[in-house]
Amino acid sequence: MIEVLYFAWVRERIGIPRERIETGAATVAELVDELRAREDRYVAAFEDLRALRVAIDQELTDFSAPLKGAREVAFFPPMTGG
């Protein structure tokens, strides 16, 4: 089981801030493919991966990163702090 978190418009498109997912995905990209295959709201959220950032266990990474050992994966748009 992996905890998947969504922020900003990704959260709004998917409709929930977080969920626990049972997945066999080896990488972030595979997890995204699994989610897209589920429902249209995931397709809408993951339409353009270039517009998204991903963090594994609260560290920024990229979509090719392996999920082995990951507890938490978060998807969000580019950050706008400051």
């Binding site: 922020f7 900003a8 609260q58 580019p78 950050m79 702090g81």
Partner: protein, 146 residues
């Protein structure tokens, strides 16, 4: 080094005075305060979302990197989240060093990285509706100079 991620309002003057008193003979203190600006169409408020846990870690890592690049006596980062009205203070950064160049550069470095690498997202609420603020290419490019 102090990092505070908090929805509460803060008084930048009081924060800067307290920070300056604690830096000993640093000689140079630089500060930056970010304010919610009004936008065309009339901004009624801004909502800032963040990633609790990652936010604190990401800011601490940015501050650590600044400390490794410049000689800093101290650094302060305050960043709010939640709902903010136009004119309210969003965040502030202060740096103290023996000489001003280190304090200025470290403050600019902290600001550049907080903008693009700390997990905050701003949403502008206007009379016309609400819209997520998009990250700007120049903010990403600003990181290249470091």
């Amino acid at each position: 080094m102090t990092v505070r991620v908090d929805p509460a309002r803060f008084d930048p003057g009081a924060e800067l005075n307290a920070f300056s008193k604690g830096v000993g003979n640093a000689g140079a203190v630089v500060s930056f305060t970010g304010v919610v600006r009004d936008v065309a169409g009339g901004l009624s408020a801004m909502e800032i979302e963040h990633y609790p846990g990652m936010t604190e870690k990401a800011i601490a890592a940015i501050v650590d990197e600044a400390k490794s690049r410049w000689t800093l006596a101290d650094a302060l980062v305050i960043h709010r989240y939640g709902r903010l009205e136009a004119g309210e203070m969003i965040m502030m950064v202060a740096t103290a060093s023996r000489h001003r160049v280190d304090a200025f550069q470290a403050a600019e470095y902290l600001m550049d990285y907080l903008k693009s690498r700390a997990p905050f997202w701003k949403k502008e609420l206007t009379r016309a509706g609400s819209e997520w603020v998009e990250a700007r290419d120049e903010d990403e490019k600003a990181l290249d100079r470091w």
